[in-house]
């Protein structure tokens, strides 16, 4: 088992979300769910992060930001889109200012639907992301460059 799976650090970003899913994400850090048991730390710095937990439908302004944060994360990295807005735009999909989900901007590895997504689903999604992270690491080690 690789160390990436034992010590995944997340960076959490709200890309035009209503904050509902963000509150659920933060709830995972509280004593009730305590994801630090799995070594998960919420670092606010993309350069330290492995998992990009992103909520919200992404609008014009934070499209750049999402791209930027994603670029600054070192490989291997995974993206977890939390909440239906991040997956597809949710109820705001048709709005003029919403991109329609994170996948329109950066490649997403795990989709966690819900409105708001429950902490259990979020944790489940992160655990799945860990598996994908491990795959990416092996691929990286085998010589293939990570996709930017």
């Amino acid at each position: 088992m690789s160390y990436l799976q034992k010590s995944p650090w997340i960076i959490h970003y709200d890309a035009s979300s209503c904050n509902g899913c963000d509150i659920e994400v933060l709830a995972c850090l509280t004593p009730l769910y305590d994801v630090e048991r799995f070594g998960i730390l919420n670092t606010g710095n993309p350069k330290h992060a492995d998992i990009f937990v992103i909520t919200g439908g992404v609008n014009e302004i934070n499209k750049e930001v999402v791209l930027n944060i994603y670029e600054q994360m070192p490989h291997p990295k995974v993206v977890v889109a939390v909440g239906i807005c991040a997956c597809s735009g949710g109820v705001f999909r048709e709005c003029y200012n919403i991109s329609g989900g994170v996948a329109t901007v950066i490649p997403v590895d795990v989709y966690v639907p819900g409105c708001a997504a429950r902490p259990e689903s979020i944790i489940d999604g992160i655990v799945q992301a860990l598996g994908i992270l491990e795959q990416k690491r092996s691929a990286m080690k085998a010589g293939a460059e990570g996709v930017a």
Binding site: N45, P46, N62, E64, V65, N68, I69, E71
Partner: protein, 644 residues
């Protein structure tokens, strides 16, 4: 090695030759001639001073009587001429305080000479030992280097300030006159001679500070003159004490020091006050800060490596007299408080030359503290400090001068990312700064040794000094490290542009950097062959000052620090380049970000100056107050008999 006579001729050469050069340079108008004269003069002086140094390793202190009796009278006439000139100039400038002090000093001196006529013991006038050798090497080598540097620098200076009168012949003449006077100070045994040379250095400082002929420069020149004269006035008083109290044979430095505190304490204390003024200790510090308006070679030569060292040199000479005395403790406290206060004020300064000035004052304070404590160990630290500081600080001043001409600013905030624009110069500034506060470089060794010396001496005052050094140490780290950071912080890499720097400037800087590193590696040699033998003659017993194992450790560290940069290449290409984290909204790779309302803003990062806590005005007031208190206390004690 050299015979006594040859040796004496060498000393006299070192005093007279620069004098001759001074006269010559005042007459030379053509730049090429001047260049040739300065370079050849500097080389000759440098070599001669190094021979003196080398010889002092093998021979014990050598005393010479100058066979010409007239010289004493000539020196007296010289004193009168200097005083006359100062009175004349200060009257014209309506600086009546200066006039008053000079007249007072002249009267005192005349009284001394009158007494000397009657009671005239025969003592050797000149001498030289290891300490003189070290000082002479500093004056000759560093002084020579700075004079050569000044050739290129002054050319650029006048190109940049066409409104300032171009009196370069006089400038270089005075620089060499100053060198001559400094050699006179360190080779004089007869204190009357020493006083004469001392006054010449004061005069040179005055003339060189006012060189720009701006109102500010003239004002600061007079302040420097005033403070140095106030201090210098104590010296004739000391002479009076000697002639009236002890006897004329004690007008010799060696005789006075070896006579012990019983006889020497009061004159030594008074002369030490002159030394305190010359080395810009509180309450006298403001003259040195004001002197920074002078051209940079002046700041480097007079106000960091040599003239101010004359002040601490004379206190170092009297250190055996001060050991264990209350007078010594007071002097040490003045030094310690100066160290702490000047370091603290340096934090709030963004003008590079003022940072260097305050750092100089602080280091001189540390040296004075060591000399005031007066034990062999403390003096060892002091002399090492003198050596390291002279070299590293002149390197820094000259580098800052070069940088100033390229970027047209003295402000540290404008030196952001200098490492990309002028990598070699930046490297040398980093070496200089590292030399000032980082282990295992030289100043660190001295700080370490002085802590060792203070803990054991004069309880409980030694501990007071220790506490002061402890606070000051962290403070010096702060302002040096943030300057280093400024130099290497790269936002947008600038184009490398070192081509406009004059050849002479660059070469001198290389030499000084090599000297800084060389002295760091070579300090055991300096210690074993020069300082410890000298201390042995002064103190008759010298404990193991620095163990072999510690030297080995320092070498290891030095080695690591110096070879590390070669691993820099390995690191520069190994990482994927990404923007700095600006919350996700930088504009490309630049140093701008998208601010609110869609406006692009440039990052502006500046150092902390902590004005509220370390502001110059507030701290100066407090320290000058404390300084005045201590000086007055010192004078009181000296008047009532020395507190033996």
């Amino acid at each position: 090695m050299l015979s006594n006579d040859t040796y004496m001729e060498l000393l006299i050469f070192l005093i007279l030759f620069p004098l001759l050069m001074a006269g010559l340079l005042t007459l030379i108008q053509g730049e090429n001639f001047r260049r040739a004269a300065v370079i050849s003069g500097a080389v000759l002086v440098g070599i001669a001073s190094l021979i003196t140094l080398a010889d002092s390793i093998t021979t014990q202190a050598v005393y010479h009587s100058v066979p010409v009796d007239m010289i004493g009278i000539l020196i007296f006439i010289g004193d009168i001429l200097i005083s006359g000139y100062i009175i004349f100039v200060s009257l014209k400038a309506r600086q009546y305080l200066v006039t008053g002090i000079t007249i007072l000093q002249l009267i005192l001196l005349c009284a001394v000479e009158y007494l000397a006529l009657a009671d005239h013991a025969h003592i050797p006038e000149l001498f030289s030992d290891q300490l003189s050798g070290i000082m002479a090497a500093i004056i000759g080598v560093i002084g020579g280097l700075i004079c050569v540097y000044a050739l290129g620098y002054m050319r650029e200076y006048h190109a940049e300030h066409p409104d300032r009168p171009d009196k370069r012949p006089r400038f270089f003449g005075i620089m060499f006159l100053f060198l001559s006077a400094m050699f006179g100070v360190v080779f004089s045994n007869n204190l009357l001679w020493l006083f004469f040379f001392w006054e010449i250095t004061t005069l040179c400082s005055f003339l060189l500070i006012r060189y720009p002929e701006t109102d500010e420069a003239v004002k600061n020149a007079y302040r420097a003159l005033l403070f140095n004269l106030v201090g210098g006035a104590c010296i004739p008083v000391a002479f009076l004490v000697i002639f009236l109290g002890q006897g004329s044979q004690y007008i010799g430095l060696h005789e006075l020091v070896t006579a012990g505190p019983g006889i020497a304490l009061i004159p030594a204390g008074l002369i030490a006050i002159a030394g305190l003024a010359k080395s810009a200790q509180f309450p006298f510090s403001s003259w040195l800060v004001g002197a920074m308006v002078a051209p940079t070679p002046v700041s480097a030569l007079l106000h960091s490596s040599t003239m101010v060292k004359a002040g601490v040199y004379i206190i170092a000479r009297f250190a055996p007299v001060f050991e264990g005395q209350i007078v010594g403790i007071l002097i040490a406290l003045i030094g310690g408080i100066t160290f702490l206060a000047a370091s603290a004020i340096a934090i709030s300064q963004s003008n590079a030359k003022k940072v260097l000035a305050f750092s100089t004052i602080a280091n001189l304070g540390l040296i004075v503290a060591c000399c005031g404590v007066g034990t062999a160990e403390a003096l060892w630290a002091a002399i090492l400090l003198i050596v390291f500081h002279a070299i590293a600080k002149s390197l820094l001043f000259l580098s800052v001068g070069t940088v100033e001409h390229q970027i047209h600013s003295r402000d540290i905030e404008d030196m952001n990312g200098l490492v990309t624009r002028m990598p070699r110069i930046t490297m040398m500034i980093l070496i200089g700064i590292a030399g000032m506060f980082l282990a295992p470089f030289g100043m660190l060794i001295s700080k370490w040794a002085s802590l060792h010396a203070f803990v054991e001496s004069v309880p409980p005052y030694g501990i007071l000094l220790v506490i002061i050094i402890a606070y000051g140490s962290g403070i010096t780290a702060f302002f040096w490290a943030k300057w280093m950071g400024k130099l290497i912080a790269v936002g947008e890499p600038q184009t490398k542009d070192e081509s406009h720097i004059p050849r002479s400037e660059k070469n001198i800087l290389y030499i000084l950097s090599a000297l800084t590193i060389g002295v760091c590696f070579g300090f055991p040699i300096i210690s074993w062959y020069l300082i410890e033998p000298w201390l042995l003659t002064m103190y008759q017993s010298v404990t193991d000052l620095i163990s072999l194992s510690n030297i080995e450790i320092m070498f290891m560290m030095l080695f690591l620090v110096l070879i590390m940069p070669f691993s820099l290449a390995r690191f520069t290409h190994s990482a994927r380049r990404v923007p700095r984290y600006l919350c996700g909204i930088p504009e490309g790779r630049s140093t701008a970000f998208m601010g609110s309302c869609g406006i692009n803003r440039e990052i502006a990062l500046s150092n902390y100056y902590l004005e509220r806590i370390f502001g110059e005005e507030r701290l100066s007031r407090i320290s000058v107050g404390m300084g005045i208190f201590l000086i007055v206390l010192l004078l009181n004690i000296l008047i009532i008999g020395g507190g033996l």
